[in-house]
Amino acid sequence: MSSLLPEFLLILTAFFILIIDLFDAFNSESSLSPEFYALSGIGFSIISLFALWGYAPTTYFGGQFVVEEIDIFFKGAILVAGFFTVTLLPAIFNLKNLVKNHYPEFIVTLLFTLSGMLFLASSRDLVTLYVSLEMATLPLFALTAWEKSKFSAEGAIKYLILGAVGSSFLIFGFGILYAFTGSLSFESIRVALAQPHQDTLNLVLLAVAFIIPGLGFKLTLFPFHTWAPDAYQASPTPVTAFLSTASKVTGLVLATHLLLRIFSFQLKDLQPVMVVLSVATMTLGNFVAMKQENIKRFMAYSSISQAGYLLLGFLTLSPEGIASVLFYSYIYIFTNMAAFAVITLHIEQTQKQNILSLKGLSKTSPGYAAVLMLALFSLAGIPPLSGFVGKFFLFSIAAKQGYHIVVAIAAINSTVSLYYYLKIIKQMYINSPDEDTPSLKAPLVTKAGLILATMGTVFIGLIAPFYDQILWASEQWFKLWIK
């Protein structure tokens, strides 16, 4: 039972907060504000997650729910993303009128999404996969529309419609897969797909064609990314942060299940598709980000381009591949969260979302400007920050497969990405602020989250044992599974 503990703790905290809200207990002065409960809930679930570390992979619900070392790392990443998102919340929800802007409900929805994502990581058959995927995505539609701004509804609706289209493609694809074995578990499908005899070959083709868009939607790959900019812009900044980190990691989890656990024998033939998709995503993400004015929309395209880099990790069926993806996703979460912390404070306190409004931030609040600069440099992949180390390992996977041209394109793309990151740094450091701009003030919790994220951005890449542990975990997984 213990390996279900992380998910269970989250749901328990969610209900606990609901009950407190029921009795309207938050308004009284004595009680702690809701995010403390959420933070402690997530904290406990992280601790329980890593307590599972030593035990051999444990299976529940007849093989539908399995916790392997690799899943522990994926779940860890999701929980960390959730943790940071919660630290951002006090910055935007002014605690006086909790009831009016439904702060406790926001946290509850968030916790439900998180638990859905954790279930997804351990699912081993199509039903659990689909259910937990929807459990992870549906609350997000609600969270995107939380703000009372003019366009929040529009963004949420677009997100929902495309989400529905994506999941319908997914279901159709799963249907075709079901035709092969009659059972829904990944393992049996994978084995069945190992030697598809001639006439079912085009069926496999159709299945793949239907499933990739579903994955593409979740991972914001090129043709399926169109929802992301609008959804990121419409939602409140912490949710944008959550979308760009946690939902990105969920996409990676989905990719691990689909590409490595189901289509592992088709991976060789899928390489050209994946290469085209990743190059297209990178290039689109980087080149469009150059022309963006709005900060949130800009971060959307930046995260789309990161998805392009992450896809490179799936080009190979080797432990290094999944290890570098995981390593980079941890780095990406810490970096993005550091960046979003400053952006949330800025947008919240100046009510302006235009990049130009960042003018002279280094003079008004030097500390936050330095943090944002470090985060952006890490996103651009500049050593000695950890973004570079992560990207280097990812590109090395593509180079290992001999795709040197792809590595070249990716390298050029990261130079282009440096251009638009430097544009922001120019605003902050070179241009001078208008006279009266006040310096940014941050609630204690957000400041703590910010410091933690910055420490992660700088040090994760330098600490070798962290990567070695991830690599060991993926080797265990491959050893256990490729036999």
């Binding site: 549906l138 539609f141 529009e154 963004g155 677009k158 529905a164 319908s168 279901i171 159709f172």
Partner: protein
């Protein structure tokens, strides 16, 4: 792969395409939801027809379809809630008008 199953698969593919066509042409929000439902149900139909012809014994497909239906319902619910938001802000529930967030 007997012929009957093929007919059903083609039928579900056809419904799927109708759904897509509906999505692309409908202006009103509700029309959109209907075509979304069509697409999701086409997927479910797919499952049922395979279950009926190939693996009548296993019950997995039915479990899957039940979940699909439930989740589709949840999505529709959410969509309607969002439309309510639109209406509260005096914006018409017309998808083609919703183009303020662009480029």
């Amino acid at each position: 792969m007997n012929s009957h199953l093929l007919e059903w698969l083609i039928m579900s593919l056809f419904i799927f395409c109708v759904g897509i066509y509906g999505l692309l042409t409908r202006k009103s929000g509700v029309g959109l939801l209907i075509s979304l439902e069509l697409m999701i149900n086409a997927g479910a139909l797919n499952f049922i027809s395979i279950h009926r012809f190939l693996y009548p014994a296993q019950v997995d497909a039915q479990v899957f379809v039940l979940f699909v239906i439930a989740i589709a319902a949840a999505e529709v619910l959410l969509a309607l809630a969002l439309f309510m938001l639109l209406i509260k802000k005096q914006q018409p529930v017309d998808i083609t008008q919703l183009n303020h967030l662009k480029h």
